[in-house]
Symmetry: C2
Subunit: 375 residues, 2 copies
């Protein structure tokens, strides 16, 4: 068994003495190069680290982190893939209300393969595919060491990119569809930002339940193509915002019933359009604000139309009791992905091209598929 | 027994053949002067009638309506008093979503004394005080004939002006305080438009339950006096909007806990101020829009602060099953009024000065007490 240099071992032990601070807290210490590691130590991890909050393309650096001790209940996972989600960007920018203390490793979800397990670990073995569930910070690295409770085993036949990205966007879509209004087959929902991953998931989850979807997208070059794509996913109606500059948007619905449930991830005019489609006593759930514009609502919408406006934040939901159910939901969503009933465009990008993937995720190159880092 | 001219009798009978159209539908017929009336006919009624929707001071006319037949289950009530509520104004203007067909008699609530009863009426006798409950259109007249089920008997020791005005504003305050959040003694609420009748009722109902109230009023001449009045009613804190132009309004709360429930009857900036006071996962209920400005909300208020925005409309609530409880609530509110625990400023105005009362209610003479027509 190879020896471990005392300084690094002490640091690792300290970290494991209590669950927090997380692995990247080690970065505060001199990065003593430990190349040799024992079976109770993880391999060193190559990670996307930010020392301060700021523009992600400036503050994110790829660094090598020293090995970590693998305690009896720990599992060391070799990461396979992890997405760059908008909320990851916001965490790095420092504009997210909950964020890990810096220095920190980026990323919040992903999929990996069990590399080695602590002596007390049961039910998971090297080679198993796992995801951190509920998701947690620090997935943009090659090796992650966490307690066995953190890891949820998934079927290895799952397409890697869906396993990597299921726990944030698709789960958000599923929860929002189930938690606010009891929508049934034959009912309808309405949403803006329909080309987002959550938007695409909502369309497909609705279709799978016989629920109609009314979808609003931005006016831009290629909107006809975007409409076609969403219709192929099962969207009943897709409108650009300008198409909805009519006296009564409901006249455009044909046989689709008025929706009682709407979703807003844009704000501004696009949110007002969702409200216009809603039926009496309908609910609009806000889960994003891509336009960076607020939501403006008339008094009569509340009093006479009896609309309710709510919000959804997965991270808060995951901190509630209900989160226990989330692994069942993830299994369900991944089964849909395996059956081809839940699809969305992704681009798998090798880890050594991280900066390029980040630039795409930041929107520097126009609309791009969801970027998934492949380790 | 005096005879009744055939034309008027036929009209009355036709009206009574079905519950609708209401008494004022008679206005469509020639107003044959019937001065003589039998015991099965009501006296003629002097009423505030509007033939078309429009500015209330233009379209409202005082007219004499012919006697109505009093059927077996009917009660003829001599009206004692009825308020001019903002919603009465809106109904006449035609901007209210539900309004009686014109020509119509104004008013929606009031108190009266039983004048005569049909042969099948039980439990009510001439001299009893009654209010229409749930309230319904057409109270601005001297005699109202309706089915016995419409009338709710109240204690004659009740101050007339409170009996006349209990069924809209105080009931709105009570329902809003009970229906959205379970606020308990020691908790707090926040509201704008605190000088409104509903606002004043909320302060007093809260105080009676040991609930703190944080109150927002307009900046205007006399705001110090208004603050003092509200504090005398039991308001814990009263701020003008400009006093709340601070970085964190919650620093102004001293020992009062953050409120989980807020009320908005103003819109615009005043609504934003209510939202600022609310605690995590709080609810703001909109029941009016005095500024005529919409409500603007940030995306993060929904996602990260988890606020909910709802609306309340008494007329809708009264059409629900829960409305059965409303008479118990009215008795409770009137008992508070009799005990002096529920007070608000009113001005009793003789019916022959209706136009002057209407001008005051329309705000032509600045801030005025609630106008109550005394018949």
């Amino acid at each position: 068994m190879a020896t471990v240099r005392p300084v690094a071992l002490k640091a690792a032990l300290t970290r494991h003495g209590r669950w927090l601070p997380p692995p990247w807290a080690l970065l505060c210490r001199p990065n003593t190069a430990v190349r040799a590691f024992s079976s109770v130590m993880s391999p060193p991890s190559t990670a996307v680290v930010y020392d301060d909050h700021g523009p992600p393309d400036t503050v994110c650096k790829v660094k090598e982190l020293p090995p970590l001790q693998i305690k009896d209940d720990d599992i060391c996972v070799r990461m396979l893939a992890a997405p760059i989600n908008p909320s990851d960007i916001n965490r790095i920018q420092g504009v997210y209300p909950v964020r890990p203390p810096v220095p920190a490793v980026g990323g919040y979800e992903g999929v990996g393969e069990v590399y080695s397990v602590g002596s007390a670990v049961k039910g998971l073995s090297p080679g198993d595919w796992v995801i951190p569930s509920p998701p947690s910070s620090g997935t943009w690295q090659t090796y992650v060491v966490r307690d066995q409770n953190v890891w949820h085993k998934i079927e290895k036949s799952t397409p890697m990119e869906y396993a990597a990205s299921v726990a944030v966007n698709p789960l958000t879509a599923l929860r929002m569809l189930e938690d606010f209004v009891d929508v049934k087959s034959g009912d309808a929902i309405v949403q803006n930002g329909a080309t987002s991953i959550v938007g695409q998931c909502l369309i497909q989850l609705a279709r799978d339940r016989g629920i109609h979807s009314i979808n609003i997208i931005r006016d831009r070059a290629g909107s006809d193509e975007a409409k076609e794509k969403l219709k192929n996913l099962g969207a009943d109606q897709v409108f650009t915002e300008s198409q909805l500059e009519v006296k009564n948007v409901k006249n455009l619905l044909a046989d689709i019933p008025e929706p009682a449930l709407g979703f807003n991830c844009v704000g501004g005019n696009a949110a007002s359009l969702v409200l216009k489609f809603l039926k009496q006593s309908g609910i609009m759930v806000t889960y994003g604000g891509m336009s960076k514009k607020p939501i403006t609502v008339s008094t009569s919408s509340f009093i006479f139309k009896d609309l309710s406006l709510r919000g959804f934040w997965l991270q808060k939901w995951l901190s509630s009791d209900k989160a226990k159910e989330s692994r069942v939901m993830i299994d369900y969503l991944l089964s849909l992905a395996r059956e081809g009933k839940l699809t969305y465009e992704m681009e798998l990008v090798p880890f050594n091209q991280f900066q390029s993937a980040l630039d795409k995720a930041l929107g520097k190159l126009g609309t791009q598929p969801k970027q998934i880092i492949k380790f």
